[in-house]
């Protein structure tokens, strides 16, 4: 198996594991996690913060995890994570503003669930993300034990 194959398989397995776990955790049996696919263009919400069609086209290197979370046919979350040395970084993440109430405040956790599967599968040791607000940054530091690195959060994967 080539390294490229390994990354692709890791991404697929991570999505599948996270889909199963999150569906149960949130009690949402029709929660699905896929890679980016052409249907996203039609399913994305209006006035998206990030230019997802551009992000989907851009080459982020070999260690890339693209995440689309659906409930039924409705697209709820888009995210893109990349791997760098020991890190997996949540580069972009956005949820539907009028999204499902069960995922309100939960979108980063859902993406981190998927990213952690990907990271551990590839032997990586850290998850990084950049909270927008000071309040959310503090929540991540105090509640889940992330470490502050500049304006970003770093979560060290326990061994």
């Amino acid at each position: 198996m080539s390294v490229e194959d390994l990354h692709r398989i890791a991404a697929g397995q991570a999505r599948s594991n996270a889909e199963r776990y999150l569906g149960e955790f949130y009690g949402i049996p029709d929660l699905r996690i896929t890679a980016f696919k052409p249907e996203i263009g039609q399913a994305i919400w209006t006035a998206a913060k990030f230019s997802w069609p551009d992000i989907a086209q851009r080459d982020f290197g070999p260690v890339t995890l693209d995440i689309a979370v659906w409930i039924g046919a409705r697209l709820e979350i888009l995210a893109l994570c990349t791997g760098h040395g020991p890190q997996v970084i949540v580069r972009f993440l956005e949820g539907r503003a009028d999204g499902d109430a069960r995922l309100k405040g939960q979108r980063l956790w859902a993406v981190l669930e998927c990213a952690a599967n990907f990271a551990t599968g590839l032997g990586k040791r850290e998850l990084w993300w950049h909270p927008e607000s000071e309040e959310f940054l503090n929540f991540c530091l105090k509640t889940i034990g992330a470490k502050q690195r500049g304006r970003q959060c770093m979560f060290r994967i326990p061994t």
């Binding site: 972009f92 980063l108 599967n117 990907f118 590839l122 993300w129 909270p131």
Partner: protein
């Protein structure tokens, strides 16, 4: 069956996935409860690799 050195080397070097683990299983019950109850803003901004950020800071000096 005769096994050549080159076969052994290939087998050892083939990349393999490590066992996977989800983020939520890495948290305590208390952390999970707090996280699940969170209903505030969970927005993030575009993040960059630390090395890129360090390079930017260095070139700005």
């Amino acid at each position: 069956m005769h096994v050549q050195d080159s076969d052994v080397k290939t087998a050892v070097q083939a990349p393999r996935l490590a066992p996977m683990r989800g983020f939520l299983t890495m948290l305590t019950e208390e952390q999970l409860a707090a996280l699940r109850a969170y209903r505030g803003s969970d927005a993030v901004v575009a993040a960059v690799p630390a090395a890129t950020e360090a390079a930017k800071a260095s070139s700005a000096k």
